[in-house]
């Protein structure tokens, strides 16, 4: 981070949410406390500010291969609330990685909130890997709040993989993800979530399979500890010969609570949809096995949870 003006806390947040330890290669936009503090476009990837609202447009030229875009957001000022609209236009037959993520450090008394509204227009035959990490730190009374909204529009034979991770420190999150898939498109979602303390996390997916041969695989693994609460609400709608799968696999600890609401709607006789949901505490025999290897109960729990969320 030699050329960017970031302090130690911002540096730590950037490392947490985007694995950034130095200026990223490829295109990037780093947003800090309500404004862009560094931006680079490349020959194939153009990043421009929106005129009407706050946010950026990211345009990826057709055929762009093996390039990446990093768009991390960090907030270190207590009491800041922002809504940001980011649109991604991913050209036909391109193959790119997009790393987003938001880290909030709130040591102050007021709530800090970042609501990122992301829209993805995935062109024909394009492949996208999207990674989004949420992280909160700081011990102020003010909450760290993230309400991401994601819309994904997938054209024929496109492929998108979404890795959504929220392991620590976000007090309140309400995530809504909507996707529409055309013929032959494929969406893979891997969500990993851990809540603790008094945290609250709601995750809603609404995936519509409109095209023949389209498919979606939405899998969430989560751990709710202390007095936290989670709701996982995943719905897949099949309007064509297609296949869809949702899975919610959760561990509850302490007084944690989880509500899983899997939903399937088949509007075509050749739509094949299924869901799985399992919630339970850590299996006793897993704890015992690790204890017979010399781990304490707490160490065994930590190993099991870490493995589960890996």
């Amino acid at each position: 981070m030699s050329e960017l003006k970031v302090d130690e806390i911002q540096k730590r947040l950037l490392a947490e949410v985007a694995d950034l330890h130095e200026i990223p290669v490829g295109a990037f936009n780093i947003r800090s406390n309500g404004g862009s503090i560094g931006r680079v476009s490349t020959a194939n990837i153009e990043i421009t500010s929106k005129e009407d609202v706050s946010g950026i447009d990211v345009r990826i030229k057709p055929g762009t291969k093996r390039e990446s875009v990093h768009i991390p957001v960090v907030m270190t000022v207590s009491g800041l609330t922002e809504i940001v609209y980011n649109d991604f236009y991913i050209g036909e037959d391109s193959d790119v990685t997009i790393v987003a993520g938001c880290g909030i450090d709130n040591c102050g008394p007021k709530d800090s909130e970042h609501d990122g509204i992301h829209r993805f227009f995935v062109g024909k035959g394009a492949r996208v890997k999207y990674v989004e990490k949420h992280y909160g730190s700081g011990d102020g009374k003010g909450k760290r709040i993230l309400n991401p909204g994601t819309e994904v529009y997938m054209e024929e034979d496109s492929y998108m993989e979404m890795d959504m991770v929220q392991i620590k420190g976000v007090d309140d999150t309400n995530r809504t993800s909507v996707a529409e898939l055309a013929k032959g498109a494929k969406l893979v979602v891997r969500e990993r979530l851990m809540t603790h303390g008094e945290q609250n996390a709601v995750s809603i997916y609404n995936v519509t399979l409109n095209g023949e041969g389209s498919s979606a695989d939405v899998v969430s693994r989560s751990v709710a500890r202390d007095d936290s609460y989670q709701k996982f609400d995943a719905k897949i709608i099949g309007n064509a010969p297609c296949s869809g799968h949702t899975e919610c696999d959760s561990i509850i600890m302490d007084n944690g609570r989880i509500l899983a609401v899997p939903g399937l709607e088949a509007n075509n006789v050749d739509a094949e949809l299924f869901h799985e949901a399992a919630i339970g505490k850590i299996a006793g025999d897993q704890l015992i096995k690790l204890m017979t290897l010399g781990l304490t109960e707490a160490e065994a729990e930590e190993q099991i949870v870490n493995g589960f969320l890996k």
């Binding site: 015992i288 204890m291 017979t292 190993q303 493995g307 589960f308 969320l309």
Partner: protein, 254 residues
């Protein structure tokens, strides 16, 4: 050295109180391989779980190298040198074979070193080291990984509960070699294997027979093994053989 003194274990279920282990006293001396055998449901696994601290005996005391460990936790027993390969290996989500071997070893371990334990139990280390210890592995594979972790733990007392279960004939040859070499390299430690296999009974220093929760016999292999093979149904393989013979004899008579 492990000493069990007058161990009993009672449970309460729908049918009322049941005595699973009845006044068992047993010594597992240093530098010895003891094989425990006896009919299914006799209480062998329960006894192993009591030694590992997973079950608490209803009465009796357990001494490990002179120290009373009856009230010691599972963790502390593991740390003081008791290793236990389960009859039914436990599955995890996201924990890899290499993680489990490292946890068992209790120290930083290079991937190459972790691999040697897998090779010992006849698994191609490169193929398994990064696999998750979950239901994508077969029963026999899980069983061999379980044995590898106990080899890595290198305990003062290593207990193996039916290590042969679910293991195919080819791997079984290899397993016998693993135990033979453990037996040959035993040093200030002891091994307890629960088994029905004649070939494992054959490499024992001593054989213990547990039947209906009672210690029915204990002695040097040469003394006990012949009595099992000729008068007992303690060895399952033998038992099935006899049933098979009886069935064939009955069929021939008709």
């Amino acid at each position: 050295m492990l000493e069990l003194k007058n161990i009993t274990f009672d449970v309460n279920d729908e049918d009322g109180a049941k005595e699973i282990i009845k006044d068992v006293s047993l010594t597992i001396p240093d530098n010895k391989m003891i094989v425990v055998t006896g009919p299914n449901g006799g209480g062998k696994s329960t006894l192993a779980r009591i030694i590992a601290g997973i079950e608490k005996p209803t009465s009796g005391r357990i001494y490990f190298n002179g120290e009373d460990i009856t009230d010691m936790s599972i963790t502390d027993r593991a740390k003081s040198g008791i290793g236990f390969a389960f009859q039914q290996p436990v599955k995890f989500k996201g924990i890899r074979v290499v993680d489990l071997i490292r946890l068992a070893k209790g120290s930083e371990l290079s991937v190459a070193d972790a691999c040697t334990y897998l090779s010992e139990v006849g698994l191609c280390a490169r193929e398994y080291i990064d696999r998750e210890v979950n239901s994508s592995l077969s029963g026999g594979e899980l069983k061999r990984i379980e044995i590898a972790t106990i080899l890595a733990k290198a305990s003062k007392l290593s207990i193996f509960d039916e290590p042969e279960a679910g293991i195919d004939l080819w791997s079984f040859q290899n397993l016998i070699q693993v135990f033979e070499s453990m037996r040959d390299n035993i040093h200030d430690s002891s091994i307890m294997i629960i088994s029905h296999q004649e070939r494992i009974l054959n490499i024992a220093d001593e054989i213990v027979v547990i039947r209906n929760g009672v210690l029915a016999a204990q002695g040097p292999k040469d003394e006990i093994l012949p009595t099992l093979l000729h008068t007992e149904s303690a060895v399952d393989g033998y038992c099935f053989k006899q049933q098979g013979k009886a069935a064939r004899a009955a069929a021939a008579a008709n």
